[in-house]
């Protein structure tokens, strides 16, 4: 092994980054997109876009729930906010769960296209669409390796200030390595935060030995001690009518929680029993923690009941890591900052992998099979993933409203397109593959707003009238990224012509 500390750190940086780079890029891009999870979902469900906040939403939703199923054991009302604009109710009996979307105009049921929306990116970025096959463990390994790559990266690029102020644009390889160091410095705190909090979220899943050792037969006991919970409800209690006028509870809530629109969702447990209760979850805008504040009321009388017990300190710490990762607290400017930092970190990962390949290709005369593999994976892992994301948006607009399994079909299109880009990168010479895939990305980006407008011009008109930031920003961002893709593709082509010709 190399004797000197810095040299071994450079080796570690190079290979930990190379091995996991493509996976990390996919995780970072989808994770970054899920900062705007609700806005993306809103764009992908254009049927939702009406907003008139004057109707008494909660009471009308309760009436709907009451007329749906007798003896439901649980009701839930998800209230809309300015980001999601989505009101929906859910009722369940045992494990069976039903969902219904409600219009915001008059709180009547509406048909919304079946899609996972932005939530797909959120689940993909930690399960990798491998739920049940260890996807979360792979994501955990990736997070740990990213931490290692970051730490060793500090020693690899140790001249912080000089790196920060250098950007040589003349040569592609110089530009890449300078911008890699620059982005590394800028995103270092963000990446450390994101990776360590990612590991904290599944702390007892990734390192389960301690819980298994001390709670050998009863993990449930551990969960009960760690997660504060309410006492179980007697399911045989006398029958009673649930409260239908929520204003009694709203008054009490307004006294405890200052500010407007503080309710995230409302849960009724055993609504048709005398001992039933209502749990109100507060929005997470004003807390770092991922655990929202909760209030508990009786579902028959509306009187306040004893709430949840206090959490233990390490649990609070874990919840704050969780909250930092999800960034529910971030208002619009901070959310954008996180988004940009996320994009920069993805670019950091991508440039790292490309630099590895370019440096080696410049030195060797005879190519190794490894170089070919890295070359293909670079194209499909970076350009191909972006192409797949864009095709997911297109699928949302192109698939017919009433196709069966529409939501999973969209996801499948994402996955198949990604696979196709891999095939394309194997079949085409690398430089052409880069150019072509980036061009298709540009084309998809630039055409998306027009397709949307041609399908239903009313959407854009409504968005402008109501000044719907989410919808308008989506269109602006997609056009901007289209232009960026186009410029990058053309610039690459020019560079290549200069070097070869």
């Amino acid at each position: 092994m190399k004797p000197d500390f810095r040299k071994s750190m450079i080796w570690l940086h190079t290979y930990s980054g190379l091995v996991i780079g493509w996976l990390l890029f996919a995780i970072f891009i989808t994770g970054t997109l899920s900062y705007f999870n609700q806005e993306l979902s809103q764009w992908m469900k254009p049927e939702l876009n009406q907003y008139s906040p004057n109707v008494n939403i909660i009471n009308k939703s309760i009436t709907h729930l009451k007329s749906r199923e007798l003896n439901a054991e649980r009701w839930r009302i998800y209230l809309p906010d300015s980001r999601s604009k989505h009101l929906y109710i859910q009722w369940s009996n045992g494990r069976k769960r039903k969902v219904e979307n409600l219009s915001l105009n008059n709180v009547s049921p509406i048909e919304v296209r079946d899609t996972k929306g932005g939530d797909f990116f959120r689940t993909f970025h930690y399960t990798l669409q491998l739920r049940g096959y260890g996807g979360r463990y792979i994501a955990g390994v990736a997070a740990m390796m990213m931490l290692i790559a970051l730490f060793s990266g500090i020693f690899t690029h140790r001249r912080f200030f000089r790196d920060f102020f250098t950007l040589r644009k003349a040569k592609l390889s110089k530009l890449l390595s300078d911008s890699h160091a620059l982005m590394g410095i800028v995103t270092l705190p963000f990446c450390l935060m994101i990776c360590s909090s990612a590991l904290m979220i599944y702390v007892t899943t990734y390192i389960p030995s301690s819980t298994q050792h001390f709670y050998p037969d009863n993990i449930k006991q551990f969960n009960k001690e760690v997660f504060p919970s309410l006492p179980a409800l007697d399911k045989q209690a006398p029958v009673a009518e649930p409260l239908t006028d929520f204003s009694i509870i709203e008054e009490q809530i307004n006294q405890k929680w200052t500010g407007k629109n503080q309710i995230d969702y409302i849960t009724y447990e055993q609504p048709y029993r005398e001992n039933g209760r209502i749990i109100v979850n507060r929005v997470k805008h004003n807390t770092l923690s991922n655990q929202a504040e909760r209030l508990v009321f009786s579902s028959t009388s509306g009187k306040a009941l004893t709430g949840y017990p206090e959490q233990s300190t390490p649990m609070k710490v874990r919840r704050i890591f969780y909250g930092l990762h999800e960034a529910h607290f971030a208002d619009v400017p901070l959310r954008w900052m996180f988004f940009i930092l996320g994009l920069l970190s993805s670019a950091l990962i991508a440039t790292g992998s490309i630099i590895w390949l370019n440096k080696r290709l410049a030195k060797v005369k005879q190519r190794h099979i490894g170089h070919h593999i890295v070359e293909c994976l670079n194209v499909a892992g970076f350009a191909g993933l972006l192409l797949a994301v864009l095709s997911y948006f297109h699928a949302n607009r192109f698939l017919a409203f009433d196709v069966s399994n529409r939501a999973s079909l969209e996801v499948n299109i994402f996955l198949w397109v990604w696979l196709t880009t891999l095939l394309h990168s194997i079949l085409r010479p690398a430089k052409k593959a880069w150019f072509e895939q980036l061009m298709i990305c540009a084309l998809l980006c630039l055409s998306l707003p027009f397709i949307d407008f041609l399908q239903d011009s009313q959407r854009l008109v409504n968005a402008v009238e109501q000044f719907n930031g989410a919808y308008l920003m989506f269109n602006i961002m997609i056009i901007l990224s289209g232009v960026a893709f186009l410029k990058t593709a053309l610039w690459l082509k020019r560079k290549n012509r200069v070097t070869t010709g």
Partner: protein, 133 residues
């Protein structure tokens, strides 16, 4: 030993060894926290589990920067021995710990306890052990 063989051994020490040591860490410090610092069992399990990442991280870095494999393994061995000592010392050592008592610490106060088993109440946590004098 060839260079590549050394590298493989280091990688294995970092990944497998690092994970093993961090799980060991997450178990070994629990009795110390509960008995000496009076944390509840679930709290100390969470604390050590969360800190064990740090342990993993350090082992990975050490695996790639210590000059020889032998020094690496020696250091890790010393660390493991310390952990074991900590575990043994925190559990009352004049008492033989019930073998499946693993469960030792897990048995909470309201469980039925047979004759030759007694409970100590160390504030919040109840330790169960068999008293084989």
């Amino acid at each position: 030993m060839t260079h590549s063989k050394q590298l493989w051994l280091r990688c294995i020490t970092a990944t497998v060894g690092g994970y093993a040591i961090s799980t060991g860490f997450s178990i070994a410090l629990v009795p110390a926290l509960t008995v000496w610092l009076n944390y509840t069992l679930s709290t100390s399990v969470l604390i050590t589990t969360m800190l064990s990442y740090l342990c993993y991280f350090i082992v990975i870095i050490l695996s790639f920067c210590l000059p020889t494999l032998l020094s690496l393994w020696r250091n890790l061995f010393i660390f493991c021995a310390l952990l074991l000592a900590c575990y043994q010392m925190a559990i009352p050592n004049n008492l033989h710990v019930n073998s499946k008592t693993e469960s030792v610490l897990s048995m909470m106060s309201n469980q039925t306890i047979s004759n030759n088993i007694t409970t100590i109440n160390s504030h919040t946590l109840n330790l169960t052990y068999s008293n084989n004098s």
